[in-house]
């Protein structure tokens, strides 16, 4: 259903809601297009006219700096008119429903919504409700999906590792609440890596997590052995107050990534993090700023990936992409 909703009858991207249901060739198409955009960043003129005359609204029902900014830059580099609305402090706090907010913005002749929302399924709901010419990009919905984050991470991995097939990837931390983890797992498996591992205490793993196509480790040292890619997840402070963990320091002791622990992974392993980083909670500063870290590269790649996804999703409506 999700796959059907986000693809045109010809199999082209219409919305970008989840990685689920997208095949390797489509994911590769996104990565290839992003690569062509990535080259532009060094040039004097960083703009292309692909979405000239189009209006894109960034609709953030949840706070975000990195994702919103890169979406905004991506839209501007495609020459679209872009408007960012922080709904967390706007209409819905006045009691307006999600649907009313969408309807009002729709009436302003918007072509695309980029949506972040605290509830799983919000982007699906909006995609079902908007007028047929409008595209919806999911910039993170609850604990469900964050597909552009997953794709920019795939892009970063491909830049460095070239081929997905031989890779073993470990995702460490709060899998239970992480939309990033869910999208990464689907993307990595679709692109055909050897193994995806999740490493976390049971309190931070969803029930039947193995059904997502991952190998489960409760011990960081065992899980890190021989991996090529180490993906760290942010640990939210509220996990302590809801009795999922005893303390930040105990978490760091068990699951924090330090230089010593990183040595268990392959010598050329890369370290990733979707940000924002909690230094000394899930990752030691020496690792975050160290030679194996690609964390800032991820941020730069976010722009190219978001340009690619926006351009592709607008293609069925007739753009020059």
């Amino acid at each position: 259903m999700s796959a059907i909703l986000q693809l045109t009858p010809e199999g082209k991207l219409k919305h970008f809601l989840t990685i689920e249901g997208l095949d390797k060739s489509l994911l590769t198409e996104i990565l290839d297009l992003a690569e062509s955009f990535a080259g532009m960043s060094d040039q004097q003129v960083k703009k292309v006219p692909i979405l000239r005359g189009k209006t894109i609204v960034n609709l953030f029902f949840e706070n975000s700096t990195r994702t919103r900014t890169t979406f905004e830059l991506a839209a501007k580099r495609l020459s679209a008119d872009v408007l960012s609305i922080n709904i967390a402090t706007s209409a819905t706090s006045k009691g307006e429903s999600l649907l009313d907010t969408i309807r009002n913005l729709e009436a302003m002749f918007v072509d695309m919504f980029v949506v972040r929302h605290a509830l799983s399924g919000a982007a699906h709901f909006i995609a079902q409700q908007v007028a047929p010419h409008i595209s919806v990009i999911n910039a993170g919905d609850g604990q469900h999906a964050h597909p552009t984050q997953a794709m920019l991470d795939m892009f970063t991995i491909r830049q460095i590792k070239k081929d997905f097939a031989p890779l073993k990837v470990a995702i460490i931390g709060d899998i239970l609440h992480s939309r990033v983890a869910r999208s990464e797992i689907v993307a990595l498996n679709a692109l055909g890596v050897t193994e995806v591992r999740v490493i976390a205490p049971k309190t931070l793993l969803p029930a039947h997590v193995e059904t997502l196509g991952v190998k489960v480790f409760y011990n960081l040292n065992e899980g890190l052995k021989d991996v090529d890619v180490v993906m760290m997840l942010r640990l939210q402070k509220e996990r302590m107050s809801s009795a999922l963990l005893p303390s930040e320091s105990e978490y760091f002791k068990c699951f924090g990534l330090t230089e010593d622990k990183l040595k268990l992974a392959k010598p050329d392993a890369i370290v990733m993090h979707p940000g924002p980083i909690n230094r000394g909670v899930e990752i030691d500063s020496k690792v975050a700023d160290g030679p194996q870290s690609v964390i800032l590269k991820q941020v730069s790649n976010g722009i190219a990936i978001r340009m690619a996804v926006m351009a592709m999703a607008m293609q069925p409506q007739g753009t020059s992409a």
């Binding site: 399924g121 919905d141 609850g142 869910r182």
Partner: protein, 424 residues
Amino acid sequence: MKRIQINHGRIIDPANGIDRIGNVYIADGKILSVASRPDGFDADIQIDANEQIVCPGFIDLSTRLREPGQSRKATIKSETLAAASAGVTTLCLQPDTMPVIDAPAVAELIKDLAEKAGYPQIHPIAALTQKLEGTELSAMLSLKQAGCIAVGHANEPVKNLLILRRAMEYAASHDLLLMLRPNDYWLGNNGCAHEGALATRYGLPSIPEAAETIALSQCLELAELTGCRVHFGQLSCKRSVIKIQQAKNDGLRVTANVAMHQLHLTENDMTPFDSAYHVLPPLRTEDDKQYLRLGVAAGTLDGICSDHQPHDLDAKLGAFPETEPGISALETLLPLLLKLVADGALTLPEGVAALTSKPAEILGLQRGALTPGLPADVCIFDPKAQWRVDADHWRSQGANTPYWGQTMQGLVTHTLQAGRVIHS
């Protein structure tokens, strides 16, 4: 009152072990005979039930009609029309109306509205605690005298086990039945989907089976301690069925029901994020569904309820976790029962019993059977007739059903409540 003769239908009356073709004779609002024509009987109304099934009217153990308080969702008028068209002649009403059914005046208001709607067979379930806040006992005896058939707690948590114990002791003192949906509020963790592979995949806050089974176990212990009669409603998982059977083997005075949709739908039937499938307790696994079906067939689960919960459009428009749970279920009750029979899960008489004689027994009602002398609550249906779930055929004010647009088999042609034709 009119004399009615129902001709040549297949009479299914589980309480009396009847399953044969014949006539039913009704006079003065009561069943007169289901065998030979009484001497001098001269019918005012003849109903041809050829090729149809004639059974007692259905008794629904759990419904919400949304009135008083939420008439934007539904009214007693709209929902009793739906009930009548579905062959349902008796409705138990959960106490979470607005205001809550915790005072005789509210129960009396509901009874009044039911009379005005021409459907007097609505039985309010009284709130076990004041305002359903789970802390102070309601005036259960007064509520019983005002017409409440049982006490219950809807979806609200009782604050602690001591309060539940005392409430059960007090209810037992007045021989009140406690109707409870077992659910540990904290383990439920504000979830909206079964804690399984699907919730994991879609990142939905989830509810483990243990939220139900732990609450069930605790309440079974308290039933033993207090001697309170307990009816467990809307059970959703295999382990609950096992626990109920164990309790019955141990001689506890407990009974149970399951919502019809739990016998048909599982988490795998959910279209991702389709709020029509948002129910509490959540749709669980295929294994649970099969075991619930076995539980009904074996009589471990005594009754089947509709768990009717009509909603306005807005309640179901939103991201899945923020939508309101519940299905508008009265009108699909019979077709889904027939589907159970077609699937071989139940015989038709077993299915009819789960909707008639067994709920009557649980509630202590002199209804649910075609015994001469009982009020003539009768449902006549064509088991082969097909109809589409759409705006032309739907009567409930709530269109929130996962079956919208689908074709159903089984159509009620006549419904009689105490000898009065309330649907034809």
